[in-house]
Symmetry: D2
Subunit: 410 residues, 4 copies
């Protein structure tokens, strides 16, 4: 279905060539200062036509807030919002319509629904993500204002061009655990400091200039070959309080994985040390505790990526999302028509050769939605439990120390 | 919360040292033949004490079905089930209780709830997965019986010991796309044919004997060092009909990622070509259509992993899940107590040095739950839409061809 | 939250003076012929200004369908829809704003959210129901087209003016069960035959001309006294197949009660014989089975109101909903300001003296939503179970007779 | 499905003759002192065999708590619980099995599932309510301890024997509003003061001795006639804070109606003045505001029943639920067999002639579940909004007065 979230909930509608795409954002805390510009900023980062690396279509994507706000303050009631589709023309029929685009959603939508939009893969259109980005911007407004939470995503690879520091030095032997780094210290530092300004300073949204240049070349090579290329987006969330995430099925990372794999063209997700961390022994991978300079409990390393047992531990949350190369390419492809007739398909029009730069605000938006929803759920529990009498009958190791003693940032 | 699924729904309860762990499975189709043995088989595969690679505790894990079945036939009503905890003793206090175990859930549970079970990380106990495995076995019973769906998971790596065919040959240059394989043909063939019998023929549950031997050595090395090691589980689902998965937020792979990342100790998920596929250009990664020998539409390659646009396409679904090394190790660790006092912790008792062999039936169970739930939702849509009059007013490329023409296996 | 339904789901947004009110309808079966007029018809019946009995505001309430439909056929994707608010002016401050209107939502909204719309009770505005009516009209389109289901609501009382046949003859003695009717036979006949045309033939929407005249007088009396009056709406749903409703918490009547009590100003719900039926002994209240002329199984009486054990039995479903008198009256009321200062409030502007005539399409809409959602859920179960092998091991009384034998209409 | 609630959630399983009936209660606040006796007390009130007015079966209904509690303190994790069925014998086949019991769930269960339990209507068994009562008792423990909330239900009618004060004096004329009471002042006083001790002091659970005697006679008359009789239960919830209930679909009264109509044999629900209140004009029905002696804002009357605009207003919540006469009677009934053959059915065994005395704790339990769930949801909102900066840009009538000024009890 088209709804995401339990207490902070977004529902979206719309496909490529209908009247508008939009969303209803339900559960926004009342009393939040919110202006259209708070939403528009992220929408504009998602917009195509921002550089010669993306599709030259220029859609304005101006958001129209419909409800739930008065005098710039949220009322706690649903916020309706929509963005007009500038191109509402019915799709012109052409011979390419006889072909389901390989690795696109045309064929599976037809199998699923028995009918499909003339524009093809219906809701798999990138325009569907507009509603998510708008909703995420609203969530982020709260998270930033109240908790100082910072959510920054960036492009960590395009094709085989990787941010060099994103993987540690590879040990040569299966039998030797002693020398490897799980992630390089430069990369860990990048996660701790990277800002959106740094990310946006290059059209690729890779905050490492030399790599960004090579990524640009890789994208242009794909574009010139009428081809496309995939990549990865890494995201860090700084400042999330401890205690978010619902055991057992709605662990924080499970919701995050759900959110990320719901973005079009995603195929992979890893949190913290991820796949690479599976190679390290427990003695190296475990994050030991210590008291931080500010007096709060923390961990010396953070291979867990800010989540332990499905619950946030107030360390930075970081994860990586893999996006396949866009399916729509204008290069000729040998494939078959809906009726099975073999033939050659070459997509018309202009297409993004690489989506990861535009995916950056979408990843941030979905991350915001997960944090906000989990925060509300945990706030329900904490506020409700806080009214109970203090526990005096349990051994001290079973009860959280009273304030004044060491514990997590909350 | 402790519930997973929309129409096929499992809710679990229980932690390590309480009276029992169990589950309620709601939404099982009525009229399904079901015996306790159908559930017990998978529970026994999950059980510890199966080989010298796992913890020597010998819990019988005998399932007691409580309701929802009469004379070996499901009634369509909730199936209550439970497994007694053999060790219901209250946890003995010891000095180790003063320490939150690094990378375990002790500290985060206490932050979240303000109180925790004496046994430590509460619901993060591996025993919680008993309810999932039981529920998954019930779902699988239907999927196998009616659709012939086969779900087979296996261990694809332990530490740095990888099933050799699981990754293709690595191209050396960023600028050269021409020679690489995305996944090797041997690995693709393994996915198409591997059986549970093959998987269970070696204690590591790796269906490649030579690799399995090296994995064994790696696990024993961890055990002897009082350490632990992580790994990956790959799973293939064969025979799923086209059309499953709910755009946009509940894409098939999004639900699958959610399910897998809800398993304790998981940190990573990829479907189809996964992270590696992000490096390939669209012209190589796209799965072209063709008519299969049986007359149905299929794809020549399957880098999508059986899902396009969030919807299954009747090709094999395959994915990989990364498990970190177990956090509980008996090696001494420099860390801090709950109150911040630095010190050295060495866990007592016996622990799994590597969980991936036992994780195999859990991955299969969660996969079954996702398929079953999505199947029910899609059946609702199809059955409801099938009663509508045939569409005659749309262009033929917008409507699914009538039966007799080429389309997916359903 | 602002979402209703599991598989057929409506989410609404909007309050009185914002830009628009609207809804997203998710889960509509694909392939359904749907024109704006199908939705507009019910919206127009809900509209104020239809007669001198309702508020003279004339809002056009023209629906704008945004998505999910092409060439007049639904795509199975979410249908976005909105209706512009003609009066989007910020509410002018006045002294009446110092007072929470008695029995209105002003005070409770402020308690709940800490902030409220300038127009008062925010989402408790009657305009919120526009989204429901639109969604209900879409559901009804399917139900009528495929199952021939008819949903007809009508006004059964205004103040003390009751449709005479709606209650049976009252037995005088507690000790005498022998002579009473539970409902009169004329009323039962009305339920079996009443049409929307009959209902709309009088401005009160009471299909009994003489009573309708008395109701008119009662409403005019309230209007002239600057007062208001309540009433009841009875609704019948004819043609619902057997088997809908989900035991145990989502019984058909439980969902129906939920739906009806979510309509503004409702205070009461009863299905079948309702409160009056509680007075009858089982021997008189039980609906005995017999074979109908068409060969299907039915019940001789229908005091159950079409639902037994929470599941529909293919008999007519009928229920009654009580609406209190509108809280907003222009008569002076002794009450208190938000700060507790006692004073006199007289509402300005024009208000509906009685809402039940306009509530008729809202009741029908909510009924449609419940039937459609339950139908989808039951279709999921039936379609899934229908693929299982026939049951041969159970006693015949435990298994539904194969087709060809007597059973319910489905 | 078998789950109720969003953040405080109960899932039940079990039918009459299976191994056990039980529930999983998820979302209980951590740190709540809870002993088995807290649950057992309400279960024992629900138990049959308490007097000669109920069925003489003597089932012990001893609850076994499985998880989620240590040393008498809840952990915040799911609480599994079960009650063994003492009669687990497979149902003996008899000729009566050829007949679906009129107005029972036998026939509809078979229509819905295609298969049914040998014992008949499966989950419609009264034993299913054990899980609800246990869950409700846990919720109530919190509500009482922290908020001092009191939930008291009682029998307000049996057949035509009504608690005399439950309805006001009836005005004779449609045209005369001036003299009637909506509810009598004695009844309003009863609602404000009635205790469980008073309710339990008579086997009928009617807290008015003279009426209770007449109810007893009515029940005995039904029993002696091998017949049954219905009745109503009234429930009051005192001490609920203002602000609970989620506009628009999950209004407090909508959830309450849903909860009550999910109890077996219920046919009707009304809150506050209910159906009778629909007859009163707004000028008499509106609840005017005033400052209470304790300084908080309240209403002079409470015809709204503690809910306005779907949100609680801190006044007493009271409602009435109608239960039809039990369908199972041993009197002979002319009806038909499953295959349509006409015949005479006389139920064997012993049956409750009237369920309302035993329904009292079930109504209380479902009320507890609704309050607890809504409280958690509102606590999420309040706790989250409370961290926002104070609103300074809105007119004062749009913002809740700061503490120190008059407002609701919270």
């Amino acid at each position: 279905m088209s709804t995401f979230g339990t207490l902070f909930r977004v529902t979206t509608y719309g496909e490529s060539h209908c009247a508008s795409v939009g969303a209803i954002v339900d559960g926004c805390p009342p009393g939040l200062p919110l202006e259209p510009q708070d939403v528009q900023t992220q929408l504009s980062r998602r917009r195509p036509g921002q550089s010669n690396l993306t599709t030259p279509r220029d859609e304005k994507d101006l958001v129209q807030l419909q409800s739930g706000i008065e005098h710039g303050i949220t009322l706690g009631t649903p916020i309706g919002l929509l963005v007009r589709n500038e191109d509402q023309r019915p799709h012109d029929y052409s011979e390419t319509d006889l072909y389901p685009r390989p690795s696109h959603a045309d064929w599976t939508y037809l199998e699923k629904y028995g009918v499909k939009a003339s524009s093809g893969g219906g809701r798999s259109s990138a325009r569907e993500t507009i509603g998510r980005v708008a909703a995420g911007a609203i969530a982020e407004r709260y998270l930033k204002l109240v908790h100082g939470i910072e959510i920054v995503a960036f492009v960590s690879s395009v094709g085989k061009v990787h941010l060099p520091s994103s993987v540690g030095s590879q040990a040569s032997s299966e039998d030797d655990d002693s020398v490897e780094d799980i992630l390089s210290s430069e990369f860990v530092q990048l996660l701790q400091t990277v800002t959106r300004e740094q990310v946006d300073s290059h059209p690729t949204r890779c905050p490492h200039t030399e790599t960004a240049e090579r990524m640009t070349k890789r994208i242009i090579r794909a574009k010139e070959a009428s081809d496309s290329i995939g990549g990865t987006v890494t995201c860090v969330i700084r400042g999330v309080p401890a205690g978010l995430g619902e055991p057992v099925f709605d662990k924080f990372e499970a919701k995050l994985a759900h959110a990320m794999l719901s973005i079009p063209a995603t195929k992979a997700f890893e949190i913290g040390s991820g796949f690479r961390g599976t190679e390290a022994p427990g003695s190296r991978h475990n994050d030991a505790f210590f008291v931080k300079p500010d007096g709060s409990m923390g961990t010396k390393t953070n291979w867990s990526g800010g989540v332990q047992g499905g619950i946030t531990n107030a360390e930075d949350i970081y994860f990586r999302v893999g996006f396949k190369s866009p399916a729509t390419i204008s290069q000729a492809q040998e494939t078959a028509q809906y009726d099975g007739t073999p033939g050659t398909l070459a997509a018309r029009g202009r297409h993004d050769p690489c989506v990861v730069p535009r995916a950056v605000p979408i990843v941030e938006a979905m991350a915001s939605l997960v944090v906000m929803d989990q925060l509300l759920i945990q706030n329900a529990r904490k506020a409700t439990a806080s009214l109970l009498p203090a526990i005096t009958t349990l051994p001290p190791t079973m009860v959280k120390p009273a304030s004044g003693q060491v514990n997590g940032k909350q």
